[in-house]
C-alpha cells in the first residue's frame, strides 16, 4: 500500500507534476470562492480560451507558453472588465465577445502553422507530464502569488465583491481591486491550463469552491476548505491518472467532482441530513 502511494513520487517527472498540480489546484480553490460569489463562474472557461493565442505564440517562438498565455489572458481579462464597467455591455456578453474572438484568433494561428493536432490537444486538455521544469516552477509561483495577494487584500476584495457601492464610498479603489481580481483569475487560469488544459480549467475554479460552500459558512473558511479540497483532488486525480492510465486533466477534474458529490452527501444542508430530518418527527413550533 505504501509502495503504491510512494511510487509516483520516485520519478522526477511525476513528482514535479504532482507538486504543480497541488499548488495550482489550491490556488484556484482559494480564488474560486470569490469567483463563484461574484457570479463569474464562466470567466475561468472564457479566460482559458483567451490564453490560447498567447500559448500558441509561446509554442511558435519556443519560449515559455505560460508567460505568453498570461499576457493574452490578462489583456482579455482587463478588456472584459472594461467593457462591463463602462456599461457598454452586460458582464456575460462582454465575456463572450472577448473570449470567442481570442479563441478564434488562437485557432487561426495554430492552423496557419501546420502541426495542428498535437499542439491543439495539449493546449485544450493539458498535460502536466509534458510540461518542462520552467513551466512547472512558473505554475507553482503563480499559485503562491495568487494566494498571497488574496490573503493580503482579503478584506478589500471581499468588500468590493459584496458591496462595491459602499466600498467605493468608503474610499477603497474598487476599480483597481476589480482589475487585480481579474488579473489574478487570468494568472490562475493560465497556470491551470498547463495542468488540466483550457477546456477543464474552469472546473478547478468552480468545483472545489462549490463543495466548500456546502461545508463552510464564511468566506475565509470556504477558502481554506476549497484549497484543501482542490489540493486533495489534485493528488487523487494524479494517482488515478498514474495507475489507471487516464488523461491527467480528466482524472483531476473527476476527482474534484467526486469530492463535490461527497460534500453534497455530508453537508449540514446535504442529502443525508435531509433524509435524517424527514425520518425524525419535526418538533412543534415553540411558542414564545
Amino acid at each position: 500500500m505504501l509502495d503504491l502511494l510512494a511510487d509516483p513520487w520516485r520519478f522526477d517527472l511525476t513528482r514535479r507534476a504532482m507538486l504543480a498540480v497541488i499548488a495550482v489546484s489550491m490556488g484556484c480553490g482559494v480564488l474560486g470562492v470569490l469567483v463563484v460569489w461574484r457570479g463569474l463562474s464562466f470567466i475561468g472557461d472564457a479566460l482559458a480560451h483567451c490564453a490560447v493565442p498567447g500559448v500558441v505564440v509561446g509554442f511558435l517562438t519556443r519560449t515559455s507558453f505560460e508567460a505568453w498565455g498570461v499576457v493574452s489572458a490578462l489583456l482579455a481579462a482587463w478588456g472584459m472588465a472594461l467593457l462591463a464597467r463602462r456599461g457598454w455591455l452586460g458582464g456575460d456578453a462582454s465575456i463572450a465577445i472577448v473570449f470567442t474572438s481570442a479563441f478564434a484568433l488562437g485557432l487561426a494561428m495554430i492552423s496557419a502553422t501546420g502541426s495542428y493536432l498535437n499542439d491543439l490537444t495539449e493546449i485544450l486538455f493539458g498535460n502536466p507530464l509534458a510540461a518542462g521544469p520552467v513551466d512547472i516552477a512558473l505554475s507553482a509561483l503563480v499559485a503562491l502569488w495568487v494566494v498571497g495577494v488574496v490573503v493580503l487584500l482579503y478584506r478589500p476584495l471581499v468588500f468590493a465583491s459584496f458591496d462595491p457601492t459602499a466600498a467605493r464610498v468608503a474610499g477603497l479603489p474598487v476599480g483597481l481591486l476589480d482589475a487585480a481580481l481579474y488579473g489574478l483569475i487570468a494568472l490562475a487560469v493560465v497556470a491551470g491550463v498547463a495542468v488540466v488544459g483550457s477546456v477543464l480549467v474552469t472546473a478547478l475554479l468552480i468545483v472545489p469552491p462549490a463543495a466548500a460552500r456546502l461545508l463552510a459558512r464564511r468566506v475565509w473558511t470556504q477558502m481554506a476548505v476549497s484549497a484543501g479540497l482542490g489540493g486533495l483532488a489534485g493528488v487523487l486525480g494524479l494517482y488515478a491518472s498514474y495507475y489507471l492510465r487516464l488523461a491527467t486533466g480528466g482524472s483531476v477534474v473527476l476527482a474534484a467532482v467526486a469530492l463535490f458529490l461527497a460534500a453534497l452527501l455530508v453537508s449540514p444542508r446535504g442529502v443525508l441530513r435531509g433524509w435524517a430530518r424527514r425520518r425524525t418527527p419535526r418538533p412543534a413550533l415553540a411558542g414564545r
Binding site: W37, L152, L153, R155, P156, V158, F159, S161, F162, D163, T165, A166, A167, R168, V169, A170, G171, L172, P173, R213, A216, R217, R218, V219, Q222
Partner: protein, 296 residues
C-alpha cells in the same frame, strides 16, 4: 419651537448648491439646493424616480455631477471622487446579495476598512467600534449569525451598524424605513434622535411622509427639482404636495392632515437635547408614542 431649527452655525454642515445630475442626457436633478446642518435631520421626499437616491449618490460621489457644488463645513467635496470617510452612506437594502457568506460582525467591520486602507487589518479599536454599533442597534446577540439568516429589518440594522462603525459625522440613509418591522423602525428612529443630539447631520430619503414629518427638522420635497424646502409644517402644504406628486398629492395631504397639525404643534423629537437629554424625552422613545407629544 415652530421656527426652523439651526443648532449649528450657518454655513456649517452639508450644503448643496445648484446641483445638477444627468444620466445620459436626461437631467435627473436640476438645480437642487438644500442644506443639512450638524445636529439636524433632513428628510428627502418625493415619488419614485424623483431623484432621492441620485441626490444621496451625488453627495457621496457615486454619480458624476453636471453642475453645482457640494460642501461640507465650507470645504468642497471632490467632484465625482475623493469620498470622505466623514460621510457614512447606507444604500438601499436590496442592492447587495444577502446570501454572501459573511457574518453580521464581518459586514460591520467592513465599515472600518475605509479608515484602514487597502492593507490595514482591523485592530482592537475597530472591533470595539463594530461591537458598540451592533449593540446600539440591538444586533449584539446576532453578531455571529450569517447575514442571509436575518430578517429584512435586521439586515437594515446591520447596514446602519456598518455606517455607525465608520464614525463619520454625516449620515446618508436611503430608505431605511421601507419594508422593515416595527422593532427596527423604533430602533432606527430612536437612533436618529440620538445621533442628532450628538451633532450628526443626517439626510434621510423616505416614502413615509408621516414619519418624516415627525422625525425631520427640515424636509425637501423633490421631483427633479426642489419643490419645497423648510420645516415640515411649512413644506407639507397641499400646494407643494400637488407640485411634487401630481394630483395624488391632494389625497396625501388629507391623509397627512393629522400629522401635519402635529408637526406644526411641535416636532416629535427634541431639537436641542444635549447628551444629558431631557427627562421627558428619555421616558418616551422616539416614534413609539406619538400621541403623547401632541399635547406638548
Amino acid at each position: 419651537m415652530t421656527d426652523a431649527p439651526h443648532p449649528a452655525a450657518p454655513g456649517t454642515g452639508l450644503v448643496i448648491q445648484d446641483l445638477s445630475v444627468a444620466y445620459d442626457h436626461r437631467l435627473v436633478l436640476d438645480g437642487v439646493s438644500v442644506a443639512c446642518a450638524h445636529g439636524e435631520i433632513l428628510g428627502l421626499l418625493g415619488p419614485n424616480g424623483a431623484g432621492k437616491s441620485t441626490l444621496l449618490k451625488a453627495i457621496v460621489g457615486l454619480v458624476p455631477r453636471a453642475g453645482g457644488s457640494i460642501g461640507l463645513d465650507g470645504m468642497p467635496l471632490g467632484r465625482g471622487g475623493a469620498p470622505s470617510t466623514r460621510l457614512a452612506y447606507v444604500p438601499q437594502r436590496h442592492e447587495v446579495d444577502w446570501d454572501f457568506p459573511l457574518t453580521v460582525e464581518d459586514v460591520v467591520l467592513l465599515g472600518r476598512q475605509g479608515r484602514l486602507g487597502l492593507l490595514g487589518r482591523p485592530g482592537k479599536a475597530d472591533r470595539q467600534a463594530a461591537h458598540a454599533a451592533l449593540e446600539r442597534l440591538g444586533m449584539g446577540p446576532q453578531r455571529r449569525a450569517l447575514i442571509g439568516e436575518l430578517s429584512g429589518g435586521q439586515q437594515q440594522r446591520v447596514f446602519l451598524a456598518r455606517a455607525l462603525a465608520q464614525e463619520g459625522d454625516v449620515l446618508l440613509l436611503d430608505e431605511p424605513l421601507t419594508g422593515v418591522d416595527a422593532t427596527t423602525q423604533a430602533i432606527v428612529l430612536d437612533l436618529l434622535a440620538d445621533l442628532r443630539s450628538r451633532g450628526l447631520a443626517t439626510v434621510l430619503a423616505t416614502h413615509d411622509l408621516a414619519e418624516a414629518a415627525r422625525v425631520c427638522d427640515r424636509l425637501c420635497l423633490l421631483n427633479g427639482r426642489v419643490m419645497a424646502f423648510g420645516p415640515p409644517h411649512e413644506v407639507l402644504t397641499t400646494d407643494a404636495l400637488v407640485r411634487t406628486y401630481g394630483s395624488s398629492g391632494i389625497g396625501l395631504n388629507r391623509d397627512l392632515g393629522e400629522e401635519v397639525t402635529r408637526a406644526t404643534l411641535g416636532p416629535a423629537l427634541p431639537h436641542d437635547a444635549g447628551p444629558a437629554g431631557h427627562p421627558e424625552h428619555e421616558a418616551a422613545p422616539a416614534g413609539r408614542h406619538p400621541h403623547r407629544r401632541t399635547g406638548r
